[in-house]
Amino acid sequence: MAVKVMIPTPLRQFAGKQESVNLEAGTVGDALNALTSQFSDLKKHLYSDDGRLRSFVNVYVNDEDIRYLQKEKTAVQQGDTISIVPSIAGGSQ
């Protein structure tokens, strides 16, 4: 399935400065694997050493958090948007 992965600002420097990447994938896990294969620098920002998604990074399929779906096994449909949303804290400074 052709899906679009939205890259958040803090991670764009590791994804060739792109704001989104189009990929073929059947599940969210497939899409993230394809993404980190293409952009190996992204891997350590998204995954901890034991291969799990970092907890300050959330992943959504369209507007649903994958933690409340089937996590990385969540199936994706043609044209779905996968969003990576890390925490940001800027406000005053």
């Binding site: 804290a89 406000g91 005053s92």
Partner: protein, 395 residues
């Protein structure tokens, strides 16, 4: 779904009415059926606490004061800095050097003398947060660091107060309402903070000045809607704003039944050490940069004047080079691994950046790559401007 405060702003024994002056001041609210006298009185009785009076706090404070929020508390211990004026529009050039609280209360009182402004010139900590927040109905988080965001979140959940959240990074913003009873909290979304140093601050990453203006206004709007009990709030919704694309997106936020703070069996029942939670030990730079060989700007100048053959490596970005430079060879830090072959390890290299942080990383990297004659310019080009050549602009 319209949300209202579960403890609606209570009518006091002496029910505040609006004076003739206030009726005129707020006439544009009063003629709207969605606000009316009812809504304006709710605003007058409302007590809102702003944490932080900076980029987000500026438009927030201005619009809450303008709207007639009867009691506005502001927590900020900082001083107005020249670099704040690019976005912190509560302040003017003549305020540089003044305490932000003083300058902000003056500005907001001038805008609306009818409201009460409480000032808390202190850093919010686990020791004082519950006491400071207790008296207010709504808390608005305009802070700039992870430990405080987690502190504010936890305190709001423990006290049952909604936390109107906004945050920004360069040209992206987020907004939501956490801690609304029955709704998710910040830890439902992000159970853990990122390790220190992974997400740069505005001073390091930069920010489009007007961006916190937009997000701060959204926070003001959500606060006012909560007070008057109208419209659909951002409870359970994460609003994402991309300024460059001028696009708003929205993601669903769910309350996590296993959330350590607001879940069914909370593990956190009192405020913790948030600096420790976020992995920060003290305010100093991380230990590894202290062990990097350094050269001060004055020492560098002396050696260059002596005719020493030093190779200056600038690890900043192209657009920074254009602001000012030391005629160094520019290899941005992110490109260093790919371009390390351009460097001659037999030469003495002095690496520099803006303030000395990125170049310390570069020196560490190059040392691991086998470079032996490599120094970090302590304090970067900022220190060069201070100590050697004041004609070099600081930024």
């Amino acid at each position: 779904m319209a949300t209202r405060l579960t403890q609606p702003v209570p009518a006091s024994a002496a029910e505040p009415a609006l004076s003739k002056q206030e009726v005129l001041r707020y006439s544009r609210h009063l003629i709207m059926p969605e606000v009316g006298m009812d809504g304006q009185l709710k605003l007058k009785r409302a007590k809102v606490l702003m944490i932080g009076s900076g980029g987000l706090g500026a438009p927030l404070g201005l619009y809450l004061a303008a709207a007639g929020v009867g009691r506005l508390g502001i927590v900020d211990f900082d001083t107005v800095d020249f670099t704040n004026l690019q976005r912190q529009v509560t302040f003017g050039t003549s305020d540089v050097g003044r305490k932000k609280l003083e300058a902000a209360s003056e500005r907001l009182s001038n805008l609306n003398p009818e409201i009460q402004i409480d000032t808390f010139e202190t850093r919010l900590t686990s020791d004082n947060a519950l006491d400071i927040l207790r008296d207010y109905d709504i808390v608005v988080d305009g802070t700039d660091n992870f430990p405080t965001r987690y502190l504010v979140n936890d305190a709001c959940v423990l006290l049952g107060k909604p936390n109107v959240y906004g945050s920004i990074f360069r040209f992206e913003g987020q907004a939501s309402i956490f801690g609304y009873p029955g709704g998710p909290c910040y830890r439902c979304l992000y159970p853990e903070p990122p390790p220190p140093g992974l997400v740069p601050s505005c001073a390091e990453g930069g920010v489009l000045g007007v961006l916190p203006g937009i997000i701060g206004c959204i926070q003001a709007m959500e606060t006012i809607k909560l007070i008057i009990g109208k419209g659909d709030s951002l409870v359970g919704r994460l609003l994402l704003f991309d300024a460059l694309g001028m696009r708003f997106r929205e993601l669903k936020l769910r309350k996590n039944p296993e959330c350590p703070v607001c879940g069914e069996h909370p593990a956190v029942t009192k405020l913790i050490d948030y600096a420790e939670f976020c992995g920060i030990r003290g305010e100093e730079a991380p230990a590894q940069t202290a062990s990097v060989p350094e050269i001060t700007p004055k020492q560098l100048k002396q050696r260059l004047d002596r005719g020493d053959d030093l190779y200056i490596l600038d690890v900043r970005e192209t657009h920074e080079y254009q602001i000012c430079n030391l005629n160094g060879q520019l290899i941005p830090l992110g490109e260093l691994p790919k371009r390390v072959s351009e460097l001659d390890s037999s030469r003495e290299i002095v690496a520099h950046c803006r303030s000395g942080k990125r170049s310390a990383e570069a020196v560490e990297f190059l040392t691991k790559a086998g470079f032996r004659k490599i120094w970090n310019l302590k304090g970067g080009i900022l220190a060069w401007s201070d100590d050697v050549d004041p004609s070099v602009p600081k930024y």
